[in-house]
């Protein structure tokens, strides 16, 4: 049986790890390569790098970070942020990343999913979806541009389309839960997990170990991602995995 995966996320700007609370107020939390190696040693199952650099220089730095990281760690890792063309994907995969995360660019140009999947295989293509509950609709809406722009697209329809276009995984972030530390968005995660036949990575809202247990059981997530609580050692990865294992969750 496949195990549930624990995935620390490293937000990287100009080659340094930062993490914002609700995507603002960035704080520096260190060197990405060093942090990645530490998480590998601690038993993280996978890593996600989100490049939030705004400049071309920052992007170029990211390629170097990817290359160094690939040489240092022995677990798979995904790189997302600012990827809008198949050529960008190629550069990052060549540098040693295992998967590519695409978000806004996939909404703007959904062919990017199909083209990427055809060229590199579905297992390389992670479609990141930022979703927020829309009271008027009574369901979730997709947001882009780091969670700032509502798209008018229904999240449940979008994940289905992403899957049919060849996405290998969905990285699902709840804008409502992100930064709150009140727990993952279980109704959203469950709704998406039940709808698609590809793995779903739940993100946003992790505050304690219980939250991970809940998202793997009630939320039916295949993987859970968090940043702040890992970076600031509020939860240690080995403790978390031990705890989940003791409670009967399939864990490496």
């Amino acid at each position: 049986m496949l195990t549930k995966r624990i995935i620390p996320c490293l937000d990287v700007k100009d080659g340094r790890v930062v993490k914002g609370v609700n995507f603002v107020n960035l704080r520096d939390a260190g060197d990405p390569v060093e942090l990645a190696a530490l998480y590998d040693r601690e038993g993280a199952d996978e890593l996600v790098f989100l490049d939030i650099s705004a400049s071309n220089e920052g992007r170029a730095t990211m390629i170097e970070v990817v290359r160094q990281t690939a040489g240092e760690i022995s677990i798979p890792f995904t790189v997302g942020g600012g990827i809008s063309q198949v050529e960008d994907m190629k550069r990052i995969l060549r540098a040693g990343a295992d998967k590519i995360g695409i978000n806004t660019a996939a909404i703007v140009n959904p062919d990017l999913i199909s083209d990427g999947a055809r060229r590199f295989g579905s297992q390389c293509i992670v479609v990141a979806v930022d979703a927020k509950f829309n009271d008027a609709w009574g369901e979730w809406e997709v947001y882009t541009h780091g969670g700032r722009k509502p798209t008018g697209i229904r999240a449940l329809e979008w994940v289905k389309e992403a899957e049919s276009r060849g996405a290998g995984e969905i990285l699902l972030t709840s804008m409502d839960a992100d930064g709150t530390k009140d727990g993952f968005d279980l109704p959203l995660t469950r709704a998406v997990s039940c709808l698609v036949g590809i793995p779903v990575i739940a993100s946003g809202g992790a505050g304690n170990k219980e939250h991970f247990y809940d998202v793997f059981t009630e939320g039916q997530a295949d993987a859970a991602l968090a940043a702040t609580i890992f970076h600031y050692k509020e939860i240690a990865v080995p403790d978390l995995k031990q705890d989940l294992k003791a409670r009967g969750v399939e864990i490496r």
């Binding site: 049986m1 496949l2 195990t3 995966r5 590998d40 038993g43 199952d45 290359r67 690939a70 040489g71 240092e72 022995s74 677990i75 798979p76 995969l93 060549r94 540098a95 040693g96 295992d98 295989g121 579905s122 297992q123 290998g168 995984e169 036949g197 590809i198 793995p199 295949d222 490496r252």
Partner: protein, 211 residues
């Protein structure tokens, strides 16, 4: 002594070569027949489609070189698609001939409720732990990404399986030839230990320098 990582224009070999270096083994990423035949061991990695990979191998003549290395008794390890290529044939997108170094064929996962590709961490279950690969290692989790799997013709070639609806071929071996369906270079400590065991075997039992 050097380990040759066969470069036939398919995918990224950086992670595999770096993993070997971290374990203290010298590697060369190469498509040169002499370098492959003179190496102490050969790694055949691979990502992508079976048919494309075989075409690349044939075009460069490296199919014969890998067969020759195997026949000469050189330690050879196929990784992921590289393991599948060792066998007779694959039904991935049609019917393709493989290297035929080990007897057996590559088939798609049987339909069912489980997701394909089989992607993520799954546990190895040893079928035959006599050889050098599992030396000193308890059964552990490794990282898989694949939609097709191998059915070896000889039961004795099956060294480990993993459970994904049914027992799926995870490690094969026959004499000097081995294959791992998962990515040892992406499988944490367990993967690195398996890789170290193969490389140590390839170097004639001498331990690599800690990197």
């Amino acid at each position: 002594m050097t380990i040759a990582i066969v470069d036939y224009g398919m995918g990224n070999l950086h992670s595999v070569s770096k993993a070997c270096e971290r374990l203290g083994f010298k590697t060369v990423v190469t498509g040169d027949p002499a370098a492959i035949l003179n190496a102490s061991g050969v790694l055949l990695p691979g990502v992508g489609a079976f048919g494309d990979a075989m075409e690349h191998l044939r075009e460069s003549g490296l199919d014969r070189v890998v067969r020759e290395a195997a026949a000469a008794g050189k330690p050879l390890l196929g990784i992921c698609l590289g393991m599948q290529l060792l066998f007779d044939s694959s039904e991935e997108h049609g019917d393709h001939q493989g290297l035929g170094i080990l007897p057996g064929r590559v088939v798609r996962f049987e339909g069912g409720s489980l997701k394909v590709p089989h992607m993520g961490w799954n546990k190895l279950e040893y079928v035959n732990s006599d050889g050098p690969l599992f030396l000193g290692l308890e059964e552990g989790h490794v990282y898989f990404v694949h939609s097709y799997h191998v059915l070896p013709e000889r039961q004795e070639d099956l060294l480990a399986v993993t459970d994904y609806g049914y027992p799926v071929t995870a490690v094969v071996g026959h004499g000097n030839v081995f294959g791992m369906q998962f990515h040892p270079e992406k499988s944490g400590e367990m993967g690195m230990s398996l890789l170290r065991n193969f490389l140590t075997f390839a170097e004639g039992g001498q331990q690599g320098q800690a990197g």
